[in-house]
Every structure is written in C-alpha cells, then in structure tokens.
Symmetry: C2
Subunit: 231 residues, 2 copies
C-alpha cells in the first residue's frame, strides 16, 4: 500500500515521495479512514494530484481527499486517536459477498458477556498481553471506546484509543470471542491485562474482519499524544 502510493505520488508530482501512515495495517486488514502525510515542493494543484494518483493506483486503494497541511502536521505523530472496527458475521451461514471484510462465527455467542468483557478494556491499561511480537516502547494505551453493536446477523465491535500495539485489536477480538463462546469468563479481562502475558489472551482474530475507520487529530479529540501507533 505504502509502495503503491509513493510510486503514484512520485509520478504525479515529478519528485520522489516518502509517505507517513497514521496507522499501520497488516496484510488483509482494511482501512476506510487511513491518513497519510508527505512533504513535497510540487506546485501541482491538490485536486489534480488526487485525480492523477487515483488513476495510477490499483483498484484496491483510493485517495478520498488531498489537502495542504500545516508544516508541523505529521500523519502519525499528530494523531490523537485511532478507531478500528471488527466485523463478525454471527449466523447460520456465511455471507459470500461480505467475505473479504468480515469473520464468520457459526457458534452461538453470548453477546452480553462479550459486551461486559469489552467494557473492562476501557481506560488506561498495559496491553502487553494483547500485543503481537516484541514490544517496542511503552505498552500502556488509553482505550476510550470499546463495545459491540448488532445489525441483523452482523456484530460490529468498535474500539478507539490513543494508539494500538501491533495485533492488539485482533487479539482483543479473539479474546472476546473466547468469552462469547464460553471458553473464558467475562470477568477475566482484568487478570489477562495484569498478566502482561500474550498466552493468556485469545488467538488473533482473522485480518479480514478488521478495518481502520478513523484517525483523530487535535480538534477532534482535544488531547495530544506522542504514543507510537504499532498495530
């Protein structure tokens, strides 16, 4: 994704471009709200750049908006929050047309227990138990929102924090699915957080269900953060 964008931007602006992504997304993870920044000496109009870049990009990437930012703006370090959504199809059958962006769980799920467990994630906690791979830097994060919403047979898990550790949302969803299927008690979240042990949390839920839906900046959230986005 980064490579394709840099190539397309370089071609349209006529100079080499290095972009900064607000949130990293693993292979198979979607993003409808990704934000990038880059420096350029180009005189080409932003609208013209956007059109040219979209014409060059592969079908699975598109630039929605492009505008000039303040000199101090940095897509990653200026961000004060990120919001992800994880989609679970809870029903007797798959939804073939949605298969690329949701995870199908045929087992019955205790949604009340999943919601109670989700609530225990809210607040400032050390999320080391939910991180994939070695920790880089501090592992505390401020989770502001975490909860489930049902639409028909679709269960949408929304989570917002100042930043996320690598694999954090997928490990959280995997753990909440353990709770939903009765494998783990709903009140275990606190103990799992306290353990800082990845083995205590559930397996990473599949990438397809995950989507970066929004990146927040000063003015949206009113709080600055220098936390590294590692998810």
């Amino acid at each position: 994704m980064q490579g394709e964008l840099e190539r397309a931007l370089g071609q349209v602006t006529g100079e080499p471009v290095r972009i900064v992504l607000a949130g990293r997304t693993d292979a198979g993870v979607h993003a409808t709200g990704q934000v990038i920044s880059f420096r350029s000496g180009t005189k080409v109009d932003p609208l013209v750049i956007r059109r040219g870049v979209n014409a060059l990009l592969p079908q699975d990437i598109a630039v929605r908006d492009l505008e000039e930012a303040a000199d101090t703006f940095h897509a990653r370090f200026s961000a004060t929050g990120r919001a992800y959504e994880y989609r679970i199809r809870a029903g007797a059958h798959r939804e073939p047309l949605e298969r690329h962006r949701e995870h199908w769980v045929p087992q019955p799920l205790d949604e009340g227990a999943m919601e109670r467990a989700a609530r225990d994630l809210i607040g400032r906690h050390d999320f080391a138990a939910f991180a994939t791979g070695p920790l880089e830097g501090r592992s505390e994060r401020d989770v502001r929102v975490a909860g489930w919403r049902r639409e028909g047979t679709l269960l949408r898990f929304g989570i917002e924090a100042n930043g996320f550790l690598r694999g954090m949302v997928r490990a959280i969803v995997g753990t909440l699915l353990w709770v939903g299927t009765g494998h783990t008690a709903a009140d275990r979240i606190g103990a799992i957080l306290a353990s800082r042990d990845r083995a205590q949390a559930g397996p990473n839920a599949p990438a397809a269900g995950l989507c970066l839906v929004e990146v927040k900046y000063e003015g949206d959230a009113g709080e600055t953060s220098d936390e590294d986005e590692q998810r």
Copy 2:
C-alpha cells in the same frame, strides 16, 4: 456455481444431483436471492444437508435455506418474477472495499433524466434491443418496477420483471448511463424499444455491479408466468 452446488449436494445426499436455477447469472454477477430446486430421494434432514453443503462449498457460495417443496415446484418455471439491483458508485473516487459489487462512474450524472428514462421501461414491452446474443423464444417481458435510489454516493437501480432476456439488465443500465451522461436523450427509451436493434441501446454495464436480489413465486406476486429466464 451450478457445478459446485451439484457436487456438494451429491456428496451430502449420496446420489447424483441436478439442480435448476431460477435465474442464470453471468460470470462476475452476484446473487443474494438465487433460488434452486432439485429432486432427491435422500432421507437426510434438510438442515443437515444445508450444513454439510455449506461446509463443502467454496467461500463465495452459501446456502441460506433449504426446505422440501411441493412435487410440482420448479425453481425456474414456477417463478413469477425476478428482481435485480445494479449498484453505481457516483463519486469523485472509487470505494475499494466495494469494488467487487459496484461500478464506479466518475462523470457527473443527470439523475432526474435517468429516473425519467427508467420509468419508460415499465410495462409490457419487447426488449429485443436490450438482449445479448441471439434471441431464444419471445422477447416481450413485463417490467413491473424500474427506478433509482440514492444512498450517499451510491446509486441503486432496482428492476423487477416476470423474466429477463440475457444481458437485459446490464444493457438497460448501460443505456441509462448514456442518458445520465447526456449521450442519449431521456425520452429515447420508447424508440430504442421499438427498434428491436441492440445497436440502439448502450453497452452492457460491467457485471460486478449486478445482483439478483429476489425471485418471486405464486403468493408473492399472484401471477403465473411461463416466461423463460434468459438473463
């Protein structure tokens, strides 16, 4: 699709199965409301057959429901109507996550003209001008519903008829896009129908935007039809 379903059904029921589809769908066309029928001497419970078949089917096909029908039921000949939807993304950029099921049109569209033209399709007409390939049998069809609905930047064209000729919906949408972009006047539909000449209508809109959303049977529609479904 037919082959995969017949293989899976044959494996689960333990006997060769030939299925009948209510509506044919070309490669790349989706279906959320396809109906099939087959004869079987199996004693296996329909719920068990459905689960077994869904476990064997590839990820892009799923059986939602399976039930025993009257001996006279035939998915294709018992159908009294079919409803298709065509999705157009009318906006400045593509929607990458929806790219498999919609057609992106970046040009401005005159939606009022497209709606007026759509209305002229309603009624019993000879749709030979909108058929792909040689006609098999009669080319009159009763279009009961044809119209556009906007949701944000998504334009949804819904059309319902007793049956459709091969390629008919895609040719209609291609023609309505000609109207929307000013290539063809909104009041030309009657003349195109009267011409019975495929060259008068617009090009087939891409398959990806099309979806068979419902098949209607006696009781739903109150009208029997022996029309062949050729789309």
